[in-house]
C-alpha cells in the first residue's frame, strides 16, 4: 500500500483528501463523522466576523444538473458562510482538533476587507490549535454583494493586501482560495503569491443558474418566485478547475506555489489528475454531499493502488503532467492519426457515422449491413467519433508511422516534430510564405 501521508505547506494529514469548506464542514457533528470515515482533513466552513451571524434563505439553497438516471453532474448553491455564532464554531474546532490531532484542521475565514477585522479574528482561530487558514476570496453569491468573497478575489491588489495582513498577524500557514469568476486565473494567483501566501486552493464555485422553472419563469433554486445566481460545483466543473490548476502550475510567476486542487473531485482518478497537474492535495465537497462520507474509502484505496501499480510515491505524482501542458502553437503537427474502428467491439449504433457525416468531415462510411469504416482520405483525426461512441475502446486513434503518406493530404509524415511556430502559414514563422508566393522550404504537415 502506497503511503498517502501528506505534508501540505507544513500541514500533515494521513491522506491528501480534505473536505472543502462547505456545508459538510459546518459543525462538529459532521466533521467528527468525516474523520471517523477516514478523511485526511477538513477546511472548516467559512467563519465570519464576530457579531450577529449571517442568515441563510429559508427556501431551497441548491439546484442540480443531472445526467442519465439522475446522476448528479453539477450542483449550484446560494448558501452563505456559516450562520452559527463565531464562538460556537471556534469551540467546536478546538474540541475536534484535540480529539483528532493527526488530521488536518484548516479554518476558512471571510471578514470585511479591513486590516482590523483580520487582525481581530486571526488570534482567535490560532487559539483553537487549527493547522492553517484558508482565505475565502471565492464565494460568488451573497457575500460578494457585501464586498467580500469573490468581490475580493476579483481584485488582485486586494488579494495581495489581505494575504499580507494574514501572514503578518498569524503564524499559521495561509492558503488563498481563488474564484474562477475571472478572466485569467494567473493574476489572482500571482497576487496571493506576492502577498506571501503559502498556497492557493482552487477553484471556488462558478457563477451559475442551473435551471429555469418554465411555469414560474424563474431561476432555480426558486425562492418565492425569484432566484439568484449561485455557485456551481460538482463533476461538471472539473475540466475548468483542471485547466486553472495547470495554468498556475506552469506560469513562471507562480510555478512551485503549492496548490490545493478543488472542483468536482469524485473518484481517485479525479484526484490523481489534479495532483498530476500540480496539486499537492485535493478538496472534496459535492461528491460527499451526493454520496456521503463513505466515498473516501474508494478515494484512498484507488489512489494507493494506482500509485503501487505505477511504482510511484504521492510526491512523484504531484506535478508530473505539468511539463506536458503546453501552448497550442507547440503541438506537433507531424503527429498524424486516423480513427480505427474495432469491428468486433462495434455494436452498430451508427453514432460515429451521424456525428461525422452531419457535423464533421464525412470520414466514416456506412455499408448496407451497418458496417462502419473510416475513410482515411477524409479523416482529420478530430476524435469526435471516439467521444460519441458508447463502447469504450471500440474506436481508437492510430498514429501514422513516419514515412507513410497521409491519404488526406498526400503528404509523407515526418519523424521530426514541427509545429505552428515554424509553419509557412504563420506570419510569425521564419518560414512564412505570403499569399501568392511559393514556399521555399517544404511544408510540414498541416
Amino acid at each position: 500500500m502506497a503511503d498517502l501521508t501528506t505534508d501540505f505547506v507544513g500541514i500533515k494529514s494521513p491522506n491528501p483528501f480534505w473536505l472543502a469548506s462547505a456545508p459538510p464542514t459546518d459543525k462538529e457533528y459532521n466533521v467528527r463523522r468525516a474523520f471517523e470515515a477516514g478523511w485526511g482533513g477538513v477546511v472548516w466552513k467559512t467563519l465570519g466576523a464576530e457579531g450577529p451571524p449571517v442568515v441563510n434563505v429559508n427556501g431551497p439553497r441548491y439546484g442540480a444538473v443531472y445526467g442519465a438516471d439522475r446522476r448528479l453532474l453539477g450542483l449550484n448553491n446560494i448558501e452563505l458562510i456559516t450562520d452559527r455564532p463565531l464562538e460556537v464554531n471556534l469551540r467546536e474546532i478546538k474540541q475536534v482538533k484535540r480529539d483528532y490531532p493527526d488530521r488536518a484542521m484548516v479554518v476558512s475565514i471571510m471578514v470585511p476587507c479591513e486590516e482590523e477585522a483580520w487582525k481581530a479574528i486571526l488570534p482567535r482561530v490560532e487559539e483553537t490549535g487549527a493547522d492553517g487558514i484558508e482565505l475565502n476570496f471565492g464565494c460568488p453569491h451573497g457575500m460578494s454583494e457585501r464586498g467580500m468573497g469573490s468581490a475580493v478575489g476579483q481584485v488582485p491588489e486586494y488579494i495581495e493586501m489581505v494575504t499580507r495582513w494574514c501572514k503578518q498577524y498569524t503564524r499559521m500557514p495561509v492558503i488563498v482560495k481563488l474564484t474562477p469568476n475571472i478572466t485569467d486565473i494567473r493574476k489572482p494567483a500571482a497576487a496571493a503569491h506576492r502577498g506571501g501566501a503559502d498556497a492557493v486552493s482552487l477553484i471556488n464555485t462558478i457563477n451559475s443558474i442551473t435551471n429555469v422553472d418554465l411555469d414560474l419563469f424563474a431561476p432555480e433554486p426558486t425562492i418565492d418566485g425569484k432566484g439568484s445566481h449561485g455557485g456551481y460545483c460538482g463533476p461538471a466543473v472539473k475540466p475548468i478547475a483542471l485547466s486553472m490548476v495547470s495554468e498556475i502550475a506552469r506560469a513562471p510567476e507562480t510555478r512551485g506555489l503549492p496548490i490545493s486542487g478543488i472542483g468536482g473531485v469524485t473518484t481517485w482518478r479525479d484526484a490523481a489528475e489534479f495532483m498530476a497537474l500540480g496539486a499537492g492535495n485535493v478538496q472534496v465537497c459535492t461528491a460527499a454531499m451526493t454520496y456521503g462520507f463513505g466515498i473516501v474509502k474508494e478515494l484512498t484505496a484507488g489512489l494507493s493502488r494506482y500509485l503501487d501499480e505505477k511504482g510511484m510515491t504521492l510526491g512523484d505524482l504531484t506535478g508530473r503532467a505539468v511539463p506536458n501542458v503546453t501552448d497550442w502553437q507547440h503541438l506537433n503537427l507531424e503527429y498524424v492519426t486516423k480513427a480505427r474502428i474495432d469491428q468486433d467491439l462495434c455494436i452498430k449504433c451508427g453514432r460515429c457515422y451521424a456525428a461525422c457525416e452531419d457535423t464533421s468531415h464525412q470520414a466514416i462510411g456506412m455499408s448496407p449491413d451497418r458496417t462502419f469504416e473510416v475513410i482515411d482520405a477524409e479523416c482529420v483525426a478530430c476524435n469526435l467519433c471516439v467521444d460519441v461512441c458508447p463502447v469504450e475502446d471500440c474506436i481508437t486513434m492510430e498514429r501514422l508511422a513516419p514515412g507513410t503518406v497521409d491519404p488526406r493530404t498526400g503528404r509523407t509524415v515526418r519523424a521530426e516534430p514541427a509545429d505552428w511556430t515554424t509553419h509557412p502559414n504563420n506570419p510569425g514563422s521564419p518560414n512564412y510564405v505570403p499569399a501568392g508566393q511559393t514556399a521555399m522550404v517544404s511544408e510540414p504537415a498541416e
Binding site: A68, D69, I347, G350, R351, Y353, A354, M366
Partner: protein, 440 residues
C-alpha cells in the same frame, strides 16, 4: 385454490377470485415516470436505428424515447401514433423480443435491450389516459369507403382514411369491434378492457361508422359493397380452424383454442369459466401458448403443449415458450395426436412420436385430457371473385387485390407475418393507396 381444484372434468372455479384476478392482471406492469426515465436514458439514439427497421410500422423509436427522456410522453405518443394508430395495443402484444428489441444495439452490446415495448406503452398510455386524440379530419372528400373487419388492419385503415376526409363504414361479424385485440389474445396482455378503450379512442377521429354483426356472407357481398362504396378494404382475418381428423373430435372437451380464448376474453367473471383438470394444446404458435398459459392460470392442474417438430421450430417466440414453461406448462415435442378417448366427455389423448420427416417412430404416449385445444392454424374463408395465393387473398403493392377498387390487409392477405403490428402497417398503407386512388 378451491375445492374444485382437485376434481376431474371441466369445472369452473378451480381458483378463487383473488387468484384469478392476480393471474390475469398485466403481464408486464406499466412503467411509472421514474422507471420510464431510467429506461429511456439507456437509448443511444442510433443513426438509422435498427429498431426502426425491425418495426413493421417503422415507428421512429429513438425519437419517441428521446421525447420521453425530455419529459414529453405525449409528444412521444404522437410520434408513435403517426406511424401506428394502435401503438397502445402493439406496445402490449408485439413480440418485441423478435422485432425492435432484438434489433436494439444494446441487445448486441449487453444482451439487455432498451425496453422499447414498455416505453411505448408508457407514452401511449399517457396520451390516452388524458383523453387526447391528436388528429383531426381533412376537409370532406365526399368519398365513401367500406372497411370489412374491425380488427387491427381494418381499424388502422379506417382511421387513416377518416383522417384524409373520407367517410368510412366499418363492418364486423362480432358483436364488438377490435378483432383479435378484443377476442384473440391472452387476457393478461391487455387487461382492463384496453381493446375497447383503444377502439373508442381511435374512433374519436370522427367519420367512421361501425356496424357489428355484419360480415361477408352474413348480409354483405363484395359486389354489393363495390356498388355502394367508392372503395372496399377487407381486413377479415382468418376464421376456419383445421380439425385434427380424428374420431371422437365431437366429444365434449375438444375445442378450438381461438374459441376458448375468445370466450375467456368475453367472460366478465372468470370464476364462472370452466376449465379441465388436464389440458392438452395441439400446436406451437402464439395461440397455443396463449391457450395453454391461460388454462394454467384458470387452475388446470396439468397443461401440455403438444408440438410436432423440435422446439426451436415452434412459431411462438422463445420468450413465449419460456413464459409457458415459467407458468408450469409442459412442452412436448415431436408428437402428433393419433387418438381421442372418452365417452361423451373426452378423457385422454394418445400422441405418437414422429421423426423429422413426420414418420411415426412407433412410440406413443397417452395423456389425461379433459380438454384438447386445437391451435393448428387458421384458414381464410375465401371471398368469391378474389384471387387467392397460398390460402390467402393475393395482393400486390399496398394491399391491392385482383379486383379493382378492393384492397385487403392483415392476416387474410398475403405478405408479412400474422402479427397485430403487421396488420396495422398493411391497413395504414392500403389506406394511403386508397386515398391516392380516390383523389387521383
Amino acid at each position: 385454490m378451491t375445492e374444485a381444484f382437485r376434481q376431474g372434468g371441466i369445472l369452473p372455479g378451480r381458483l378463487g377470485p383473488e387468484d384469478l384476478s392476480r393471474n390475469f392482471s398485466d403481464l408486464h406492469a406499466a412503467f411509472d415516470r421514474h422507471e420510464a426515465t431510467v429506461a429511456a436514458d439507456r437509448c443511444y439514439f442510433c443513426h438509422d436505428a435498427p429498431c426502426v427497421t425491425a418495426c413493421p410500422t417503422s415507428i421512429d423509436i429513438p425519437l419517441f424515447i428521446r421525447q420521453i427522456q425530455t419529459g414529453m410522453p405525449e409528444a412521444a405518443a404522437k410520434t408513435i401514433f403517426d406511424q401506428n394508430i394502435l401503438g397502445g395495443m402493439c406496445a402490449r402484444v408485439c413480440p418485441t423480443e423478435t422485432l425492435c428489441e432484438e434489433a436494439c444495439v444494446r441487445e448486441a452490446a449487453e444482451g439487455k435491450p432498451v425496453e422499447i415495448g414498455r416505453l411505448q406503452r408508457y407514452a401511449t398510455d399517457s396520451m390516452m389516459a388524458a383523453g387526447e386524440h391528436p388528429y383531426t379530419r381533412a376537409a370532406p372528400t365526399g368519398k365513401r369507403v367500406a372497411v370489412v373487419g374491425a380488427g387491427p388492419a381494418g381499424l388502422a385503415c379506417a382511421h387513416r382514411l377518416a383522417m384524409h376526409g373520407h367517410d368510412v363504414t366499418m363492418f364486423d361479424a362480432r358483436p364488438k369491434p377490435g378483432g383479435l385485440n378484443e377476442y384473440g389474445i391472452a387476457q393478461y396482455k391487455a387487461p382492463g378492457g384496453f381493446a375497447q378503450a383503444e377502439v373508442d379512442w381511435l374512433l374519436k377521429i370522427g367519420g367512421i361508422t361501425v356496424e357489428t354483426g355484419r360480415a361477408i356472407g352474413a348480409g354483405l357481398t363484395l359486389p354489393a359493397l363495390r356498388e355502394e362504396f367508392d372503395a372496399v378494404f377487407l381486413g377479415i382475418g382468418l376464421a376456419g380452424v383445421g380439425a385434427l381428423g380424428l374420431e371422437g373430435e365431437d366429444m365434449t372437451g375438444c375445442e378450438n383454442a381461438v374459441d376458448f380464448i375468445a370466450t375467456l376474453r368475453q367472460t366478465e367473471d372468470l370464476t364462472t369459466l370452466p376449465i379441465g383438470r388436464h389440458v392438452v394444446v395441439i400446436g406451437g404458435g402464439m395461440t397455443a401458448v396463449d391457450a395453454a398459459v391461460q388454462s394454467k392460470l384458470l387452475g388446470a392442474q396439468s397443461v401440455t403443449i403438444a408440438y410436432r417438430r423440435e422446439q426451436s421450430r415452434m412459431p411462438a417466440s422463445r420468450y413465449e415458450q419460456d413464459l409457458a414453461a415459467t407458468h408450469g406448462v409442459q412442452i412436448l415435442t415431436h408428437v402428433v395426436p393419433v387418438a381421442l378417448r372418452g365417452d361423451a366427455q373426452l378423457r385422454e389423448i394418445e400422441l405418437a412420436y414422429v421423426d423429422g420427416d413426420m414418420k411415426p417412430t412407433g412410440e406413443t404416449v397417452t395423456l389425461k385430457a379433459d380438454q384438447v385445444f386445437r391451435a393448428i392454424g387458421q384458414k381464410m374463408e375465401a371471398v368469391e371473385g378474389l384471387a387467392v395465393e397460398g390460402g390467402k387473398i393475393a395482393i400486390t403493392g399496398a394491399g391491392r387485390t385482383s379486383v379493382e377498387g378492393v384492397w385487403a390487409g392483415g392476416d387474410c392477405a398475403t405478405g408479412g407475418e400474422d402479427l397485430t403490428v403487421t396488420a396495422v402497417a398493411e391497413g395504414r398503407d392500403a389506406a394511403e393507396d386508397i386515398h391516392a386512388a380516390l383523389t387521383a
